[in-house]
């Protein structure tokens, strides 16, 4: 299939719902196919790229932080960004700026940028398709 331009809207905050992982899995599939994807993170999803997420030990399972080996959402997203570049595609991660401000998660991983609803509409208009994964 020819390279496509796609827009994906995410709303869920990290660790709250399986929709987040499905969104990342769809992104992974898109990136492996070399598609160009814009993610517009809205509401709680702006925390997915928060740089200060930190791993922890798991006493219930007797594992220290190293043994727990727990990639956090920011780590997966950073890996997806890198994979996109290697595959000849693109992952443009846009966090809704007002959502970032009210949640205090302005420190994002490199590659994530601030944007607005106008950016979402512009990306969607330029895309072959858009999928909104809303929260409930």
């Amino acid at each position: 299939m020819a390279t496509k331009k796609l827009t994906l809207v995410l709303m869920d905050a990290p660790f709250e719902n399986a929709r987040t992982v499905t969104g990342l899995r769809l992104l992974d599939a898109a990136i492996r196919r070399g598609h160009e994807v814009t993610v517009f993170a809205y509401e709680g999803a702006v925390a997915l790229t928060f740089a200060k997420q930190a791993p922890h030990a798991n006493a219930v399972h007797g594992r220290d932080a190293v043994q727990e080996d727990h990639p956090l959402p920011k780590d997966w997203i950073a890996a997806l960004m890198e994979a996109a570049q290697l595959n000849g595609g693109r992952l443009d991660w846009v966090n809704c700026g007002l959502c970032v401000d009210e949640r205090g998660v302005g420190e994002a991983i490199p590659g994530a940028r601030r944007g607005s609803p106008a950016d979402l509409w512009k990306a969607a208009e330029a895309s072959d398709n858009t999928l909104v994964i809303g929260t409930r």
Binding site: V9, E43, A118, W121, A124, N129, V132, G134, T135
Partner: protein, 126 residues
Amino acid sequence: MKTLQIVTTAYRCNVEEQDDPVLWIIQAMRGAGANAHVLLEAGAVNYAARGQDASGLSFGGRAQTQPARIEEDIRRLIAKGAEVYAVEDDVAARGLERADLVDGVRGVSRAGLPGLFSAYDRIWRW
């Protein structure tokens, strides 16, 4: 690109946000030129009801002075030319009558949704 924006969940975080975030972003995109129209479905059909009032909350004496005003949002969307639909079956199931709804909200039956969808290039279900 003509889009139908489906709103399904209501009153999720309206107090914290002082808005419904989906109605807000639809209005923001329209302000940026988006050809975006609205379908209220499931619990969100209540957004078409007259008389919604979220005012009066305070926490530790700190009052909310700008509560969400959903009825105003719906009226403003309609006044600015947005097609705003509500699923009639969902409206009736919730004990709402036509007279309870804001003027200008259009009804569509659940059976009529395929026909409605065909009129839009893209359908975003929030």
